[in-house]
């Protein structure tokens, strides 16, 4: 579970990237975080993951406050950033093992998990190569594997489906569903509204640092008394801003 209470972040003291944002991402749900470019999605995710500190407000992950108990809070989640071009000089396996060390995954468990993840993402024969030799999609997959190797309670994924081939994309969506169904949390941002519509139990639409709507897709249609697609609703919502 992720909770943000009255979170505000401004840059240069002027423009508010995130403005008095309050949001609860409950357990057992896939939560989609939607918004146009520059709406404050990435800023919010960075605050949740401890990269930047909010000017105001509290953020807790499974009850652990990221501001006051950062290490405990960080143990709760796994975070896949939007750019997978990192650790390029490491071999795939070295990277995943580095992540396992960071989260102190016991050796017996990590071996099994790495093999299982590699099998599901079709990466077994690539583990021994440097990440630099990977395609964009493979880099994305190894980042996801690095995060899932410690089996985090909360998944935080920034644009995780970009660049994945259909099979890996399907696998990841399947895994997100399994994770949420086992009573844990998946929080992800996306621009692909068809995916959000089909996959998410609940979505929040953010623009100019404020939440415009938060709820299920059904609730959204009822709220706007319309049965059009999420895409149409999204465009309508963010048009006048």
């Amino acid at each position: 579970m992720i909770e943000l209470v009255n979170v505000t972040k401004s840059y240069n003291g002027a423009t508010k990237a995130v403005d008095q944002l309050t949001l609860t991402v409950p357990k057992g749900e896939i939560f989609g975080f939607l918004g146009p470019n520059g709406a404050g999605k990435t800023t919010t995710i960075k605050m949740v993951t401890g990269v930047i500190r909010p000017d105001q407000g509290e953020i807790t992950i499974n009850g652990k406050n990221i501001g006051t108990t950062p290490l405990e809070a960080k143990q709760q989640f796994g975070y896949v950033p939007d750019s997978p071009d990192q650790f390029l000089r490491l071999k795939g396996l070295e990277y995943v093992n580095f992540m396992a060390d960071m989260y102190q995954v016991p050796k017996e468990v990590r071996g099994q998990r790495i093999m299982e993840l590699a099998r599901r993402f079709d990466m077994t024969s690539a583990l021994g190569d440097s990440i630099q030799s990977y395609s964009h999609g493979m880099r994305q997959k190894i980042m996801i594997m690095g995060v899932l190797v410690h089996n985090p309670e909360v998944w935080i994924l920034d644009e995780p489906l970009t660049g994945l081939d259909p099979k890996s994309s399907f696998t990841l969506k399947e895994m997100m569903r399994e994770h949420a169904d086992s009573g844990r949390t998946v929080f992800f941002s996306t621009h692909v509204l068809e995916v959000a519509e089909k996959l998410c139990d609940r979505v929040a639409i953010i623009n100019k640092g404020k939440i415009l709507f938060c709820g299920t897709f059904k609730e959204m249609q009822q709220h706007f008394q319309s049965d059009v697609s999420l895409e149409s609703l999204f465009l309508e919502l963010t048009k006048h801003e």
Partner: protein
């Protein structure tokens, strides 16, 4: 032409990295600190040059100074040119983004040449500036002298840079083979540097026996029988034109010389374009390609690779691997820590009379009185050598835009900073131990002296690395486009070098003034630097996490 200018601007801006408004004052402070550190060097050059001028003026040969100066500067510009060309043309990794744009090969070549030329001008400012100005003041040069000096300053670097570019391009073209291109590139880059160093050593050997004092140097310039001068002048025949133009600045003849010098520069640029067109692109393609085997990792190897480590050990290991596997980091951080202490020996060993000199130094190190100052000099050398290693001072910068990812990991700020400073400590430790071993071997250092020196390695290396990581934490350069920029075009490295230079100098000067014995010097330096280390450490513990927190891209 517009395309060339536009592209040059973009390339230069890219190399500068993104500027953050908040840290502008820090940048200014660093610039001032670096400039202050340069002043003694430039002053030294001015004093040396004016003494040389006065001596030559007595016999009416002062103009020879210009010839020598321009020639020597050309040689140095050629050496630096090899490094600049490698970094701008080959390691900057932007060619693959430029090729799809509507630019002709000539545009790309010219723009890259201009970028390297800008770097050369900065180099020439230090190398040629003091000479041109000292000569002007001494000879009472008028408007035309300074006008010509400006032209000459702008023209001199072109020819040596073209030569450096040709050497590197040919090298890279014929080594662009095989599957593991990145590794090959690295080796050929090292080879090119090796060639440059070999050439320098050769020159050194030629000059050393004949130019020990200013008087001898004057003799050499006047007599003109020196093989070296003739040789370098043959290597850069055009520098004679520059000297002649300056010498008679303003006369009709001098305009002729200047025009010819300009023509030579333009012609050499033409040659560069033609050769570059044929060899550059074939040599740079696929430069950063990595090989993929796509083979299953064997069961035994798999078990070995998934070994469990503590966070600190694992993070350190990650840093260590990346340092060795990234060509730019390997050249500037890892290899240099082993090569630099060996290279400082070259000028000494290259001299024809090196045995005599070493014997002289040995005798100095044996005396009772020399013990203290000897140790101070060794300690100063540790500090300076340590400060030439940019591993710790770029530890944060090297992560670039990916740095923020560190903050999402459950590793405490103290452990993170420690893991980041450990590789630098290890590397500069190796560096100063190599230096100490050399000194022990060459100078037949007494056992007691060695023991004290070895003891002093610890606080000196700690000091320079802690200072380095503190600088980088306060002012990291994260907005780089190629790894080269993180370590090479990073002002933090220069700042740390200045700190090493000043601290090393102070240690020697203080000891000289106090004249302490070996025992007292060893104990004093040890205690002083352990104290300094402790202070920086406390500062890092108290403020480091906050600094880390403030780095928000």
């Amino acid at each position: 032409m517009n395309k060339v200018v536009g592209l040059t601007k973009v390339l230069l801006k890219n190399a500068g990295g993104t500027k953050q408004k908040a840290s502008a004052w820090k940048t200014v402070l660093i610039m001032i600190a670096i400039a202050m550190g340069m002043i003694p060097m430039i002053l030294g050059a001015v004093v040396f040059l004016s003494a040389l001028y006065d001596g030559l003026e007595l016999i009416g040969q002062q103009a020879a100074l210009l010839g020598l100066g321009v020639t020597v500067a050309s040689l140095a510009i050629f050496m630096f040119g090899i490094l600049y060309v490698l970094s701008v043309f080959y390691y900057s990794q932007d060619v693959e983004q430029l090729l799809p744009l509507p630019l002709s090969p000539g545009h790309i070549l010219s723009a890259k040449f201009l970028v390297a030329l800008v770097y050369e001008y900065l180099t020439a400012l230090v190398l040629l500036g003091p000479l041109l100005i000292t000569y002007g003041v001494k000879s009472g040069g008028g408007f035309f002298y300074y006008l010509f000096a400006l032209f000459i300053f702008l023209l001199v670097p072109i020819l040596p840079l073209v030569m450096a570019a040709l050497v590197v391009m040919l090298f890279m073209r014929f080594t662009n083979v095989g599957k593991s291109k990145e590794r090959f590139r690295l080796i050929s880059g090292l080879l090119a540097i090796g060639v440059a160093l070999g050439f320098q050593m050769f020159v050194q050997r030629q000059v050393s026996s004949k130019a020990d004092s200013i008087e001898q140097l004057q003799q050499m310039i006047v007599s003109q029988e020196n093989g070296l001068l003739n040789m370098i002048t043959q290597f850069f025949p055009a520098s004679k034109l520059a000297a002649l133009a300056l010498q008679n600045s303003g006369t009709l003849l001098s305009w002729g010389f200047l025009a010819s010098f300009l023509l030579v520069a333009l012609a050499s640029f033409g040659v560069f374009l033609v050769i570059g067109n044929r060899f550059y692109f074939a040599g740079v393609m696929g430069i950063s390609e990595a090989v993929a085997k796509r083979k299953m990792v064997g069961a035994a190897a798999f078990q070995k690779l998934i070994r469990e480590r503590s966070r600190l050990a694992s993070y350190f290991l990650k840093e260590w691997k990346i340092l060795w596997r990234t060509p730019a980091f390997l050249l500037n951080c890892t290899l240099s820590s082993i090569l630099v202490p060996l290279l400082v020996l070259l000028p000494l060993l290259a001299r024809e009379d090196s045995e005599k000199l070493i014997a002289h130094l040995q005798s100095l190190m044996q005396g009772e009185q020399a013990g203290g100052i000897g140790l101070a000099i060794v300690f100063g050398a540790f500090l300076i050598l340590g400060s030439m290693n940019s591993t710790s001072v770029t530890a944060i910068s090297r992560d670039g835009q990916g740095f923020f990812y560190n903050k999402t990991l459950p590793i405490g700020p103290g452990q993170l900073i420690l893991a980041k400073v450990l590789p630098g400590l290890l590397l500069s430790g190796i560096s100063v131990l190599v230096l100490l071993a050399e000194a022990a071997w060459l100078l037949a250092l007494p056992g007691e002296f060695l023991l004290f020196a070895a003891l002093c390695v610890i606080p000196s290396v700690l000091f320079i690395n802690l200072a380095g990581i503190a600088i980088d934490l306060l002012h990291p350069k994260l907005g780089w486009g190629s790894e080269q920029e993180a370590v090479k075009q990073n002002m933090n490295t220069l700042l740390l070098f200045m700190i090493g230079l000043v601290a090393g100098g102070l240690v020697v000067v203080a000891n000289f003034l106090i004249g302490a014995s070996l025992w007292v010097t060893a104990l004093g330096l040890f205690v002083l630097f352990v104290l300094l280390d402790f202070l920086i450490y406390r500062l890092l513990v108290a403020k480091g996490p906050g600094w880390l927190e403030k780095i928000e891209e």
